[in-house]
């Protein structure tokens, strides 16, 4: 009896102790802004060297990738750009698909993978933590044909040092059930202000980065908030986005991160409107679901993915060979068409089965992609250049996301 009481008292004391006391404050220890060679990304990357030259292929390569990027025929026998690679190089491909960028960062931390297809909200984190190293682009012959607009960008390079090979880019779209949601929507209001029309059947991407989608909507509907960049949100702007998402939560049926669950949900009618990727639309339509997708007028978030090499990789030659293969004209055309994105290799536009693919996906259209806000990691140093305020960093976004989901 006394032992249990003692336990209870101790627990209560502990709780009281932690609940009181001043707020230690979370210091943004991420900025290396004062010391030596800092970058405008707001941090100093560890001092790592790119690979000098290729050796003998090691026989296998472990890849972390978005679902749909590394297809070996098991999803659809006709969709396979892995087997030709394995036959040519002898590098056995083991792929681990990850549903979100957070999962990718985490998997790379284990040190058990060699190469990763990182979106902008993962790439800088990987660089900063030293989990990926610079890439020697001379060892990747196909790099020469990559669109210039994708080379040496803030999300795949630091201080003029390249950290990865561009894969392709695209926008997040609004998918809707053509029978239930009509007329066809052209605005994100379908999932925000007008979400109540389909309450319980709205879906959204299950990741803190989705807050940026709310911010994109607010840029158009509440311009007096002054949001310039959906990843640079100060306290007031951030709160507005979070409030919008909490309102949306009431109408959400389920959040998705596994793309097959979204396909199933739309097919079953459990979801009728929400964010999506082109590949999901394609697969759902192939499964006879009555869906279609649109890029709303407010613009959208999107991605520009980069293949990066793990610092601790033991299969770097195979990793480089994979990167060269995936951006080779044929393979890049195949994956761009399968996933539904713009390829990174300018020569792949001639190789796509649909001759107008590059046009449809604006492969060369920088004006279009100016409207697409690539996934980027928010940091406390405002990405839109403001210096008078502190912006919310990814830790805040993560905490807020848990609160939004309730």
């Amino acid at each position: 009896m006394t032992r249990t009481k003692l336990l209870a008292i101790t627990a209560a004391a502990l709780i009281a102790l932690t609940a009181c006391g001043d707020d230690g404050g979370d210091d943004a220890s991420a900025d290396g802004g004062d010391t030596g060679t800092s970058t405008d990304q707001g941090f100093t990357p560890p001092d790592l060297k790119a690979l000098d030259k290729l050796g003998e292929p090691e026989g296998e390569v472990n890849i972390v990738a978005w679902a749909g990027y590394v297809e070996d025929g098991s999803t659809d026998p006709a969709v396979d750009w892995v087997t030709p690679f394995e036959e040519e190089t002898g590098c056995q491909v083991n792929v681990k698909t990850a549903p979100t960028s957070d999962d990718m960062v985490n998997l790379m931390k284990t040190g058990q993978y060699d190469v990763v297809s990182a979106s902008g909200d993962a790439s800088l984190r990987l660089i900063a933590s030293g989990d990926v190293e610079p890439v020697n682009t001379d060892l990747v012959p196909n790099y020469a044909d990559v669109f210039e607009a994708l080379k040496m960008k803030p999300w795949n390079s630091v201080d003029g040092v390249a950290y990865g090979i561009p894969h392709g880019r695209g926008a997040n779209l609004l998918m809707y059930n053509t029978e239930v949601v009509s007329p066809a929507p052209d605005s994100w209001s379908a999932v925000f202000d007008d979400a109540s029309a389909n309450s319980g059947k709205v879906t959204a991407y299950d990741s803190p980065i989705y807050i940026a989608d709310a911010a994109v909507y607010l840029m158009a509907t509440q311009p007096d908030l002054g949001i310039e960049n959906p990843y640079a949100l100060d306290d007031e702007q951030f709160q507005a986005a979070v409030d919008l998402l909490k309102e949306q939560n009431a109408h959400i049926g389920e959040y998705w991160s596994d793309y097959t669950k979204e396909i199933q949900a739309f097919k079953n009618g459990d979801s009728v409107v929400g964010t999506t990727w082109q590949i999901i639309v394609n697969l759902a339509q192939a499964d006879k679901a009555k869906v279609d997708a649109v890029l709303p007028k407010e613009g959208a978030t999107g991605w520009s993915d980069t293949w990066m090499v793990a610092t601790k990789s033991e299969h770097k030659t195979c990793a480089y060979k994979w990167m060269d293969h995936i951006i080779s004209p044929t393979a890049n055309a195949q994956v761009a068409e399968w996933f539904g994105e713009a390829p990174s290799n300018s020569k792949s536009c001639a190789e796509t089965a649909d001759a107008k693919h590059c046009e449809t996906f604006h492969a060369d259209d920088e004006a279009y992609f100016d409207q697409v806000w690539y996934w980027t990691t928010p940091i406390s140093q405002c990405l839109d250049g403001r210096t008078d305020v502190q912006c919310k960093d990814y830790g805040d976004w993560t905490t807020a996301w848990q609160e939004i989901k309730g």
């Binding site: 472990n62 999803t75 284990t110 058990q112 993978y113 097959t260 396909i263 199933q264 079953n268 499964d287």
Partner: protein
Amino acid sequence: MGNESEGRPVILSRGARTALAAVMALGLAFVYVPLLVVLISSFNTDRTFGWPPSGFTVDWWQRAWHNEGAREALLTSVKAGLGATAIALVLGSMAAFAVARYQFFGREVVSILVVLPIALPGIVTGIALSNAITTSLEPLGVEFGLFTVIVGHATFCVVLVFNNVLARLRRTGGSLEEASMDLGAGVFTTFRHVTFPAVRSALVAGALLAFALSFDEIIVTTFTAGASVQTLPLWIFSNLARPNQAPIVNVVAAVLILLSVVPVWLSQRISSDTAGGRL
């Protein structure tokens, strides 16, 4: 009073017995309907479990038969299960003997300690072990792999063997062993000829439950397996997400259910008490 049927006295009224039988039937139906859905879905032409089934095909069964990933995963699961069960058998019975036959300070603590891995949520065990491996053991050269999976499973399988053996030891009492020693048999001989036969069926029951638990475990396994090892639950997890593979998973599940009747039935025949074994 009361007529005897099959040698046991009727102790509850007919109304009560019918009511209980009805609940039993409903309960069994509740348990088996989803399994039937799984079985039927494995023949469904539709890949996404639509209902009613749109067509009939044995295609998935054929593809499952040839699926190498499934076979490898099955083998890995069997290996992990056998390893975990072996460790659990040894550790569980040792602890059970200690608790049953000796009085010592902290006897209750041992009981609680043994139950703890299964009483704490799997995710807690999972991240604790994963963290321990990454921070403390990897520098020592222990890597994520089959070994870590087996150790992880063993921690919560021990209690299953422990409980069964303990219950049996409590029931048989130590007098037979004492008598054996009085007659001049040494410790090892007594164990071989007196103790072991008495607890053998408890060991089998415990081993079977331990194997079943390890075989189907996913949460702790996710955290202790690493990239290279894929047990059957992990394979199922990664394949249920892929539209072309999901029906194959149904087939695998259906096969497992059908096959599992055999060892369960056997263990029932072997065990002298009809209790399904202690959890």
